[in-house]
Amino acid sequence: MRVTVQSAPFDPAAFLAGFGAGRADVGAVVSFTGLVRDDSGQMQALEIEHYPGMTESAISAIISQAMARWALADARVIHRFGRLAVGEPIMAVATAARHRAAAFAAAEFLMDYLKSRAPFWKKEIGPAGAAWVVAKEGDEAALGRWRSEP
């Protein structure tokens, strides 16, 4: 398991380097990378605030849950904070498992929980000023499927 929280940019390819490699019990690696999107064409930057101290422990707890539930061989999360430009990677997760269904499910689980349970807050900076991103109702609802499934 590896958790990285940093303000510096990261390269998604480098984040994956060597992950899950050279092991006879890993048949599937899934990665997700979230990038700064600009739907309006007006965004100047994305600012991410976080809760130093709690961030790493909250992410580690989420990863531990996923690793136990899907018997993952490994999992890795990186998340940036500070000021990001449009197109830059915000965060990434990677999961390694025996089979692909587990690797996919665990990566989606990590994303759903990171979105609503890791202490990050996004603010969009545009020409008219700054606006905090509002959590979607769907984000909380997405957690429901992980409670109902076996």
Partner: protein, 82 residues
């Protein structure tokens, strides 16, 4: 003495990121009531409690969580990571 932290727009309303609060409040909810009674900026931050989340000693908690032995309480909007 409890360290209280505020994040995102909760921080913008209280005007402070972190402060030491001398309190005997038995629960998070009681602490919030004390803060609201202090100054209008706290009343603004806590105007809609359904929009505020709380962490006690860096773990997500409810407003009825007890404060006995607690060193750090944080208030913030629903998280928007990922």
């Amino acid at each position: 003495m409890i360290t209280v932290l505020y994040f995102a727009w909760v921080r913008e309303r209280t005007g402070v990121a972190t402060e030491q609060v001398d309190t005997a409040a038995p629960t998070v909810a009681a602490l919030v009531d004390e803060l609201i009674a202090r100054e209008p900026r706290y009343a603004a931050a806590f105007a809609d409690l359904s929009a505020v989340r709380v962490a006690v000693d860096q773990v997500l908690a409810d407003f009825d969580a007890p404060l006995a032995g607690v060193r750090e309480v944080a208030f913030f909007p629903p998280m928007t990571g990922g």
